[in-house]
């Protein structure tokens, strides 16, 4: 818009536009393979896509042809004018009128095709992204737990948000831009040559200039952008730390220190930032400037040629328009190249998820267990998360129906490992676990997991009503079922005191309920599922005394007559247990009954003494 120029009919005057040129580009590791794979997602739409391409071609051709027509009209007007001056015959407006109607038609069809192309592409782009998103989500449900434990959630979320956004933008805008840019470029050159070769060469003069300028600026600005990104990262990190540590900053009177650090980062961000902004920001003015020079050249040389009778006056009008149309696809192509690179990098990250190894498939000839007695056996179990760090070696446990197993150990001792193995969230490296004598790998996971009821400390509730959250425990549970389960979990009372009772909406992370109340809801959910074997995690600290008593009672009732594994924190639970697994640093280091273990004077004994025989303990 700096130069007097006409834009091409190409769509999406990029929301990302020229800015993309100055930024550092994320590159895919394997461009070709990713591209090929990405294209397979477009093949179902090949018919629609060829239609889009056709529309893009038509629209561009019309817009490329129109300046020539315009130039003819102007020439006609001038000629008519000259004739009029000499002879007094008035300008032949009938002929001009015909040309003008033709020109209107060209413009109309160019816009119409451009609209059609964008319109159809909207459907293709979004449906493709929909398919891909759906595929990735389904893939997630088949990935082993290990994937979730190893990959930070933020990373997975970012692929879903940023990468898909990137892909859909590119599909929507850049693909058709690619087509229109190429055709415009070729079309404009051809049109220019048909009008006049010399003039065409004049337009070409500015080409190396703009390519050179664009490249020069882009490399320079990338350097500053990388610097800016780095300082911004530091600054954001500092803000994050200072805000999350606000209490400490205040308690230790460190506000001034923190502010001083911030100010120095902020100052250097300004220094590197304005340079990055400035350098990337001059791409447009410089291009405009070069465009203007082209315009001047076209005007002057064109006039000289008209002067010598080589070309008609209208040709100057045509060329001023063509020189604008000509430089635009070049800069556009340069930024599209970057956009496609970064899109492929995004696609690659998405494909990485699709390529993750899946869970070991269920056996093809599964046995089925319905309402088992609950005899659980660990036989020569070997397990580790990482290959070279064996955690569990040759573990043997024999649990009889109805027994309670306590798992004890300090925080972070890896007590959830047992849960991971029983539920088959992780695969064993050796030995087997059996229920009522059936190796759990001979069951479908669905069957296996339906046997277990799990209540973890980390209470997971989703956005929905309390009713929906409890009903999660069993498909097609009625309202009566839910209320009964809640009653059994001692949750009915507090639910009824809520404004909407069972229909109260729980917000994310369910902040409106106390931790203890949330746990009661998860117990109700487990009760509703009516499992044969229980995995329970006793609450430690975050629950008030009364709720805790209720949770205790609810858990006891839930355990009645069922085999249960309890991650235990209470002495009473541990002493009532039929068998104790003692864990530390991820390993099962001791097991036995309370009496046996105390007798051994091992880790358990010292743990027990320090934690529970508190009367002998010094408190300062």
């Amino acid at each position: 818009m700096n130069a007097p120029r006409k834009e091409t009919g190409s769509p999406g005057l990029g929301f990302r536009g020229l800015g993309a040129m100055g930024m550092p580009v994320q590159k895919p590791k394997n461009f070709k393979a990713t591209l090929v794979r990405f294209l397979t997602y477009l093949t179902p739409h090949r018919l629609a896509l060829s239609f889009v391409a056709l529309a893009a071609i038509c629209s561009t051709l019309f817009s490329v042809f129109s300046p020539k027509l315009l130039s003819e009209i102007i020439t006609d007007i001038l000629q008519g004018f000259i004739v009029h001056e000499r002879t007094g015959v008035s300008v032949n407006f009938q002929q001009i009128g015909h040309l003008i109607i033709l020109l209107c038609g060209l413009y109309l069809f160019s816009s119409l095709f451009s609209y059609i192309q964008q319109y159809v592409m909207a459907g293709i782009a979004q449906k493709t992204v929909y398919q891909l998103r759906r595929q990735v989500h389904e893939k997630l449900s088949r990935l082993p737990l290990q994937f979730y434990d190893v990959h930070p959630h933020g990373d997975i979320l970012s692929r879903f948000i940023n990468d898909f956004d990137n892909i859909s933008n590119t599909l929507q805008q850049s693909l058709t831009q690619l087509i229109t840019s190429v055709i415009t470029l070729v079309g404009v050159i051809i049109m220019m040559i048909t009008i006049n070769v010399w003039m065409t060469l004049v337009v070409f003069v500015t080409l190396p200039l703009s390519v050179f300028a664009a490249r020069f600026i882009a490399t320079r600005s990338q350097r500053y952008f990388i610097g800016q990104q780095r300082v911004l990262g530091q600054l954001n990190g500092h803000v994050e730390e200072m805000y999350t540590g606000h209490t400490i900053i205040k308690a230790f009177g460190l506000e001034k220190k923190s502010l001083a650090e911030f100010e120095s980062m902020n100052a250097s961000l300004y220094e590197v930032g304005y340079k990055a902004q400035f350098i990337s920001g001059i791409i447009m003015p410089v291009m405009g400037f070069i465009g203007n020079i082209g315009y001047v050249l076209v005007s002057v040389v064109g006039s000289l040629l008209v002067f010598n009778g080589v070309i008609e006056i209208g040709a100057i009008v045509a060329f001023t328009q063509y020189s604008g149309q000509f430089s635009q696809p070049i800069t556009q192509l340069a930024s599209i190249a970057n956009i496609i690179q970064s899109t492929m990098a995004s696609a690659e990250r998405v494909f990485e998820i699709l390529d993750e190894p899946e869970e070991v498939p269920d056996t093809t000839m599964p046995q089925e267990l319905v309402a088992p007695h609950g005899n659980v056996m660990f036989e020569q179990v070997h397990f580790s998360y990482a290959e070279d760090e064996p955690l569990i070696e040759n573990m043997n446990v024999d649990v009889k129906s109805g027994q309670m197993i306590a798992i004890v150990g300090p925080t972070g001792a890896g007590k959830t490992t047992i849960v991971n193995l029983l539920m088959r969230f992780y695969e064993l490296q050796g030995g087997f676990i059996s229920i009522d004598g059936v190796d759990i790998t001979r069951l479908t996971r669905e069957n296996l997991r339906s046997l277990f009821g799990m209540v973890l400390q980390d209470t997971w509730l989703f956005r929905g009503t309390i009713l929906e959250n409890i009903a999660y425990g069993r498909l097609r549970a009625t309202r009566e079922d839910v209320v009964m389960a809640a009653q059994a979990a001692h949750a009915d009372h507090f639910i009824r005191t809520l404004p909407d009772g069972y229909d109260t909406m729980l917000h994310e992370e369910a902040t409106d309920l106390s931790q203890g109340q949330k746990q009661l809801l998860t117990i109700a959910r487990a009760i509703l599922a009516n499992p044969s074997i229980l995995l329970l995690d006793e609450a430690t600290s975050s629950v008030d005394t009364r709720t805790e008593v209720q949770i205790q009672k609810a858990m006891q009732e839930l355990r009645q007559g069922k085999t249960s594994f309890v991650i235990a924190h209470r002495l009473s639970t541990i002493r009532d247990a039929d068998w104790i697994l003692v864990m530390n640093h991820g390993r099962v280091i001791e097991q036995g009954t309370h009496t046996q273990l105390m007798h051994d004077h091992g880790f358990y004994a010292s743990l027990y003494n320090s934690q529970f025989a508190a009367a002998t303990q010094e408190a300062f």
């Binding site: 629209s59 407006f93 001009i96 911030f262 340079k275 003015p285 203007n292 629950v543 320090s610 508190a614």
Partner: protein
């Protein structure tokens, strides 16, 4: 956009930018005028010298325009980045003065976004405005002036086109903006479903609800997809329609201009120039409308930033802070009641007690009983709604916050470390601590053993959020940080919970001689932690249920008995 007032220090630079941009758009507009003269006087007047002369003049004008636009871009970068810097610094220092209440009202995560992304967003808009949006009206005005002086009659075409263009743009943008908003909501929903699926993966699998989750996700996915298709289909109209309007206006100019040329009322060169003027006017209008897309987003950011800047911290220093008289560390609560802002129920009710120097005061009670709140009142993170808190006989509100907190060593429930070396982290407690002091503090906090195992011992780097040390290690470093201060008053907010039992015992034994002279307040959940305290305060729902030693409370206080019974099996509690 009240934030724009922060641009006022830059008003001279902005003025310069406007002048430069105006010159630049004038130069762009002047070029077609010169071209028309080349055509009319040079070509039609058969005067080669004029062509070359005017051509040279055009070149000069282009250069002047280019220089102006680059200079404008330079100043625009400086102003917008400076604006962002000022804003960031204002927001950050404001948040540093916030009390816990303001922090929790807005939320830490949200405050971080506001200080980082939101400001970047606003800064970008400022940059855009200074570069582009300033140019558009100037170009439009300049273009109209040029057009009218060239041919006033033909200028009527512009009067006809502008409303059409405006209506087209506004009707499309109006619909699109609405859809964009609903799309944002749907994106959030999709993300929420996904996030729930990630955090709850164990639960989902244990209940075999994978299919259900896939369905839930699919619904959100479909919903989002159909809205995005709608949005994009509407936006697909935008560009072709605008091009159509602009092209048709060219045709109109050629037709009506042609008629005027035909009867000799206008020269052909003027007609060519006129086409260019109109183009420039329309393109500047189009550019602004495209850019107006950024405005809703940035103004949402601006509103969030404004909220931060307009929230006044509740607690401020007294105008004439008192100098403390004694420096013993005596803490006294006199009939203190406290309501969290907006809460109907009191977090603390009529709490009165004294914590003496050289004695350990323990506070025990369930969640929500007000234990941590009580500590937060001593550090003056909150002010009492009623009653007084006195340190060495002076109301905490009469001391400066800095002086008040300098007396205290606070160890929070959740240990917080900062990125930097271990030494630096401990030094947060006392800026001029010597290496010996640091080593000693680490010794007492039982941190020396694991520190000496780290590659660079005390110079080992802690990553952001302390992710490279365990919870127990974090807690020990956080204790060392308080110890190195050698404060009059120690505040331990359930600070031993992540320690294993042996370390816990060793630490407490080592701590005992360290804190002999100090006032110690310990918040605890475990009975074992409080048994030996000189006085135990039992809190339940903000009320003091009893004060005394373990033995006296065991006989006199029901609430205490309940707690003891729930933690220790019968027979063990005596």
């Amino acid at each position: 956009m009240r934030l724009l007032r922060y641009l006022s220090p830059y008003r001279w630079k902005i003025f310069v930018i406007i002048v430069l941009v105006f010159l630049q758009s004038l130069s762009s507009l002047y070029l077609p005028h010169l071209m028309s003269q080349i055509v009319d006087n040079g070509v039609l007047g058969h005067d080669m010298a004029t062509i070359l002369q005017l051509g040279g003049f055009m070149l000069v004008i282009s250069i002047v325009g280019g220089v102006c636009s680059i200079a404008a871009s330079y100043f625009a970068s400086k102003v917008s980045m400076g604006f962002g810097r000022d804003l960031r610094s204002k927001v950050f220092s404001r948040v540093e003065h916030y009390t816990l209440h303001e922090i929790s009202t807005i939320g830490t995560a949200s405050l971080i976004t506001r200080t980082t992304n939101d400001i970047t967003q606003v800064q970008q808009l400022a940059n855009m405005m200074l570069r582009m949006m300033v140019m558009a009206p100037l170009t439009a005005i300049g273009g109209i002036i040029m057009a009218v002086t060239t041919d006033a009659h033909l200028s009527l075409v512009i009067v006809g086109i502008l409303p059409v263009l405006a209506i087209a743009i506004f009707s499309i943008l109006g619909r699109a903006t609405k859809l964009f908003k609903s799309m944002q909501v749907k994106i959030d929903t999709l993300n929420r479903v996904l996030r729930e699926g990630l955090t709850g993966v164990r639960v989902i699998r244990s209940f075999n609800r994978g299919m259900f989750e896939n369905h839930r996700f699919d619904m959100a996915n479909l919903d989002l997809t159909s809205t995005s298709i709608q949005v994009n289909k509407i936006m697909a109209l935008m560009f072709p329609l605008m091009m159509l309007i602009i092209n048709f206006s060219t045709v109109a100019i050629v037709w009506f201009g042609g008629l005027r040329v035909g009867v000799g009322q206008m020269q052909i060169g003027s007609l060519m120039a006129f086409i260019q003027y109109v183009m420039q006017i329309l393109f500047s209008v189009m550019m602004v409308s495209m850019m107006s897309f950024m405005i809703p987003r940035a103004s949402a950011s601006a509103a969030r930033i404004n909220e931060v800047l307009e929230t006044e911290p509740e607690i401020t220093d007294p105008i004439n802070p008192k100098d403390e008289q004694g420096d013993v560390g005596l803490v006294e609560f006199r009939d203190v009641s406290f309501y969290y802002p907006g809460a109907k129920q009191a977090a603390l009710q009529h709490v009165s007690f004294m914590a003496q120097a050289g004695a350990v005061t323990a506070i025990i009670g369930g969640t929500g009983s007000g234990k941590s709140t009580l500590l937060h009142m001593i550090t003056r993170f909150y002010d009492a709604t009623q009653g007084q808190i006195l340190i060495d006989g002076i109301d905490v509100r009469e001391l400066s916050q800095e002086r008040l907190r300098a007396k205290m060593g606070y160890v929070p429930q959740q240990a917080v470390l900062f990125s930097g070396s271990i030494k630096e982290n401990i030094r947060y407690g006392k800026a001029d601590a010597t290496d010996d002091e640091i080593r000693h503090a680490a010794d007492v906090a039982q941190a020396t053993e694991f520190i000496s195992k780290m590659p660079d011992t005390f110079d080992a780097e802690i990553t952001q959020g302390g992710t490279n040390v365990s919870g127990g290690q974090k807690q020990r470093l956080s204790i060392a940080r308080a110890l190195v201060r050698r404060p009059r008053i120690y505040l331990f907010d359930d600070s031993f919970s992540a320690l294993d039992f042996k370390t816990d015992a060793a630490l407490r034994a080592a701590l005992k001689p360290e804190v002999l002279q100090s006032t110690v307040l310990i918040v605890a959940q475990r009975v074992s932690t409080v048994i030996e305290a000189d006085q135990i305060i039992v809190l339940d729902e903000g009320k003091v249920e009893g004060i005394g030693t373990h033995d006296t409370l065991l006989h006199s206080c029901n609430a205490y008995q309940e707690i003891v019974a729930s933690q220790l099996a019968k027979g063990e509690s005596a």
